[in-house]
Symmetry: C2
Subunit: 357 residues, 2 copies
């Protein structure tokens, strides 16, 4: 059956490169673990001095707390449905949450243990967060939170996710500089609280070189990268550390289509438009080092629950047989990894994740 | 956290309705279990006389065999990567597989137990199967398979999935009639083998009334239905038996956007275009019977890993508060269900599935 295959060496290089960037810019690295969701992989960060992590749900926080992490930021606006999980986790380790409205604070009135919070701020992405143009609201949150002796204002958090909407380095730089300067402004304006500035999406953390005012970065996807990041010019193809290995299950002479066992329950339905087509994965060729660069114009262009279809795949059609396995770069590695119960490595090792039994 | 909520009554009605249709047209019902992937739910079919099932992977076959099913069709073209699973399963129960090329047969040479096979035929969908225009290839498969004493030709299988590409009943009927008449033709042409004709996708099995020549239907999605089926005119809104329950985690006055905890890891990235927008789910309102009809123009229009965003949602913005939970019809219930570790019911029961620990 289809499986997610990891090039551990590339993955470690990706971690090392980001750790080095952080060091170079005097930033802490608090990697986001939503991409790999694996205790095994999170441990690889420890060799680079990483002692704190970011996750996107309390379920992940519980999993990583069990794996020994004791400084965990749940980077999702807190809502009261998570109160019970917060109470349990805050007994065991240092938990921080995001808050972006005073309306969330009353739900935290009865927390029994210290909890840190960051104010989620929006510099233009428009998904969550207090707009940086609205410091009054920030002030309100800080003042209101002061009434809660267990709740500690730690600083500001910003995910400038609109970096995913641009492909030119110049446009990305402008998004980044707006965010950076807004954040630096908040750091100054609220300096009496000594706020830490947490920042980070993979596109900006991988490519920018001016982090003045920022204390800590929280990128996640860089650990694997994927076709989205490649298409944005954020990573090089040789930095993508995961492929999905899929058996060939059919060849159809009349249409020259190849059927693979590999569908939406392995790749996810995340797609990219490439060469004018909707694409769910791109072929790479197995070689002695792992795999090759992406094979031009050779994409999965049809995807149902378990089936993947390659159309107009040129010479490949003549080269493959039923029972061969093909390797594909995923469009969005976070979502593909979330569908895997474990990962294999090129060396044949098995890496467990949050979904492993 | 977000959860998949099932209206068990609707689900049972959907099962009853399909069982009744099958009975009315003198068809066996071999439901596809890839939608619910739940032993619990599969057992609900037993009350309607169902004794055999369809699945789309050997992993599912193993799961349902453990749950006591002993006539299981793995409706995916067989490839040798599954040989070991086939050997193990065929010791325990009656396993059938799909074959659509003579090239797959040599991999079955050493099977130790009887295995049934259906020839997957293509009446125009173009995903898998021998084209019905190519009976010579069918003949080749049958002849070649005869050399294997453990391999038994059972009949033909057809998934006319192009029924998902049309919205008019007339167009669907033309797809269906082409498939039905092709299948009836094969039944006649290969009558010396007494082939059974298996057919079925939810759109056709839910709406057609002429099944002459067909013996058995294998629909899956009808057990839950979803926005795709509703948009195709295949089900009524009150027949959709699942919603995703999502906590409200944010409200943003400047944009009048609502943030829900509910993302691609809960809904899947399957989308529909509705009102000119890309939509990942549609709001329903909770009521004493479960939930209402879909709320007009109130959709999830932004979806990242854990975040869902509702834009331009009118009065709803004023009505909801952080901590409320909202219910959404999923676009594609098979993929949403595949992301859930269990399902809740309106009565508060817990239904396990293949992903439950």
């Amino acid at each position: 059956m289809p499986s997610l295959l990891l090039d551990k060496e590339k993955c470690l290089e990706n971690i090392e490169r980001m750790a080095h960037r952080a060091e170079q810019h005097r930033l802490s690295l608090r990697p986001h673990c939503k991409t790999h969701q694996s205790a095994n992989i999170s441990n690889w960060f420890r060799d680079f001095g990483v002692s704190k992590i970011t996750v996107s749900s309390f379920r992940m926080a519980q999993y990583f707390a069990r794996a020994g992490w004791n400084d965990i930021l749940v980077a999702f606006p807190f809502h009261p449905g998570e109160l019970k999980s917060l109470q349990i986790l805050s007994e065991k380790c240092l938990i921080s949450i995001l808050v972006d409205t005073p309306a969330a604070l009353p739900f935290l009135n009865h927390i029994r243990n210290p909890v840190g919070f960051y104010i989620d701020v929006d510099t233009g992405y428009g998904r969550t967060g207090v707009r940086t143009e609205n410091p009054e609201l920030i002030e309100q949150i800080i003042v209101k939170a002061r009434g809660n002796p267990q709740l500690h204002f730690k600083g500001f958090y910003c995910h400038a996710g609109h970096s995913y909407k641009v492909t030119k380095q110049k446009e990305r730089e402008s998004i980044h500089q707006k965010a950076r300067s807004d954040l630096a402004g908040l750091k100054k304006q609220f300096s009496e609280h000594g706020p830490r500035i947490l920042y980070g999406d993979t596109p900006n953390c991988s490519t920018q070189n001016d982090f003045r005012g920022i204390d800590e970065i929280t990128p996640g996807n860089f650990v694997f990268y994927d076709l989205v990041q490649l298409s944005l010019g954020v990573c090089r193809q040789e930095e993508i550390a995961v492929v999905i290995e899929c058996p060939v299950a059919g060849k159809y002479n009349h249409s020259r289509q190849i059927l693979i066992h590999g569908g939406a329950v392995h790749f996810s339905k995340e797609s990219l438009t490439m060469g004018g087509r909707t694409v769910y994965g791109q072929l790479v060729q197995r070689n002695e080092n792992g795999w090759s660069s992406p094979v031009q114009n050779t994409w999965i262009t049809g995807l149902s629950q378990e089936h993947g279809v390659l159309e107009k795949c040129g010479e490949l059609f003549n080269q493959v047989s039923i029972g061969d396995t093909l390797l594909f770069l995923p469009v969005h590695s976070c979502l593909s990894a979330n569908l895997a119960k474990e990962y294999g490595t090129l060396d044949g090792d098995r890496i467990t994740n949050i979904h492993s039994n």
